[in-house]
Symmetry: C2
Subunit: 349 residues, 2 copies
């Protein structure tokens, strides 16, 4: 396969098929990419959307799979009831090699479970991780990316040391591929910077991570390193990562609300906010991580990108670009090599 093909689950996002199809249509018009997208979902609805949109038909394919797991459905029940749903159909395309990577903006639990039913885990991976980018003050890598990666944020709630070590290796590979960082700085989230701080799993993972090559292990990091962005990849178990990520979303919401309150209050605020609008827009962009193209699920033999359920067309387009990039830069091979090196180091020690 010369061109990269993305299997895009077109169903189950918060706003239905419209923004998903629009994102794919926009990407098809972008001359800098030759990615092909297979839109998997209700063919009738997808067609109807496409008719309203500028798009290149030769880069878009449609596979009909009208049923889907909705946001409030239990993942297991939904997938058991609907084996032909858009998600499983799209995943199957990737498994059979008809597409290279899977993107979905649907029910997160269903995406993880559906992928684990369809794909194999990489050798050395016991549990997969959902990674998320979050905005940081410090910039990262040669492209000065204003975000860092955190994993796991909810796929594996409780982790042992093996899991945390594997997450570090996979997160570093992802950071290398997406942010062009040769030697990513990886930190382990704990309640103190000293090596003995944290759960037994963290303490053991800390000791092992000191001996792994391919990235720079900076040791334990603390809560305040998250918004600062003192490292490129933060590793934690899913329970903690989930709470941290949702809190960051909450803080971002709060900032917007406070701005609105100030805005409503007085005329001079309105004038002042108008003058500040450039700077506020900058800060908003910095904190709007939806533009960074979704969260990768790492640990399977194929990559899955989970786009936010609230994704607009631009977020979907970015998720598709990120997905294509992971294929073109051979993320899966990099992850596999990193894990193999860890195992051989284990054997040697």
């Amino acid at each position: 396969m010369s061109k990269t093909t993305v299997a895009l689950d077109a169903m189950g996002a918060d706003q239905g098929v419209a923004p998903v199809v629009q994102g794919a249509a926009e990407l098809s018009m972008d001359e800098r990419h030759d990615t092909e997208v297979v839109l998997v979902g209700d063919a009738h609805a997808i067609d109807r959307e496409l008719r309203e949109l500028e798009h290149r038909r030769d880069r878009l394919h449609i596979v009909n799979a009208p049923s889907f797991v909705s946001m409030d459905e239990k993942p297991k029940v939904g997938l058991d009831d609907k084996p032909d749903c858009s998600l499983l159909t799209a995943a199957e395309l990737v498994r059979k090699g008809e597409a290279d990577v899977l993107v979905s903006a649907g029910n997160t639990g269903a995406v993880i479970l559906g992928a684990s039913r369809t794909f194999e885990r990489l050798p050395g991976v016991r549990r997969v991780a959902l990674a998320a980018v979050h905005p940081t003050v410090e910039s990262h890598g040669p492209k000065n990316d204003p975000f860092a990666l955190m994993l796991d944020v909810g796929a594996t709630l409780y982790c042992n040391a093996d899991d945390l070590v594997a997450f570090a290796i996979m997160g570093a590979a992802y950071s290398r591929v997406i942010s062009d960082i040769d030697c990513p700085r990886v930190g382990l989230l704990s309640n103190g910077s000293e090596p003995h701080k944290g759960t037994p799993a963290i303490v053991e993972a800390h000791a092992r991570l000191r001996n792994i090559r391919g990235f720079e292990f900076v040791g334990n990091v603390e809560g305040l390193d998250i918004p600062r962005g003192t490292c490129d990849v933060i590793v934690c178990e899913g329970f903690v990562g989930n709470i941290v990520l949702k809190m960051l979303e909450g803080v971002s919401e709060v900032a917007k609300e406070l701005a609105k309150i100030a805005y409503g209050q007085r005329l001079r605020y309105k004038l002042a906010l108008g003058m500040l609008s450039g700077g506020i827009k900058q800060i908003k962009e910095l904190t709007d991580w939806k533009q960074y193209g979704g969260a990768p699920i790492v640990g399977f033999d194929h990559l899955v990108i989970k786009a936010h359920g609230r994704s607009n067309a631009r977020a979907i387009r970015n998720a598709l670009k990120v997905a294509a990039k992971t294929v073109e830069r051979r993320l899966a091979d990099q992850v596999r090599d990193g894990l193999a090196q860890d195992r051989s180091a284990d054997g040697a020690s």
Copy 2:
């Protein structure tokens, strides 16, 4: 004892004795309070500070204890080496009934360990909790407090269901006393709002909290409920609470830095920020939880207030006021009653 007496550890704060003594001196001048403060520390240094300050000598006492555990000392080593240190001397005054409550701005680990060596735990309390107030968008209680309470934030890293239930009872009692909330809303921090979400300890605590009276258990809350402030008290284990609290500190720092960057950039930003200064000051005050008087350590038969190591005089004065209030409103009795009710409910079921 008719008047409330606070034993104040005057040593070991980041800026030394100066802000601690100043906070006590300021409180002594406040006609609305008749709290007495025992300043425990290097009598010579305390005297020197007091000579420079307006104060009422009849409300301030000095007990000489020049040695102290510094911020970067290991708590156990420091306390073992210095049995006469200011912290243990102050705690001993409380244990003997010569003071009612202990306040310290020193090494947090040493304060918790020192208290646990001096005081008894309340019946039904296996582990103590460090509680912290954090700023929220929603206001709380009849005084519209712009903050909520979270516990534990670092005293007990791993908690079983008993611990979480005890923390809920103690946190509710504290919220009742400090924020005048008759029936505080208490939430359990988890990775989803459904009762089955979270660690086994959280799931079990959830089931038990539904049957406890004296507060309103709102169920599981998520990361985004923290900055929003959807409940008055959030219960979590210390590992998670520590990371969340430090992250909030980090976010607050980041907001200040971004404001500074914007400020430095362009003249029109400076003009605009000048116009906005009222609003920004409001937001700063909202996010500056140092003004709320420190973090209580609950679970001992005497209350301890841990003031921030970076406390200025105002923060110390507020911590002293909060400490006095907990005595006058009989917090210890409320906590004891709440725990006893839980045990009798257990026996009845």
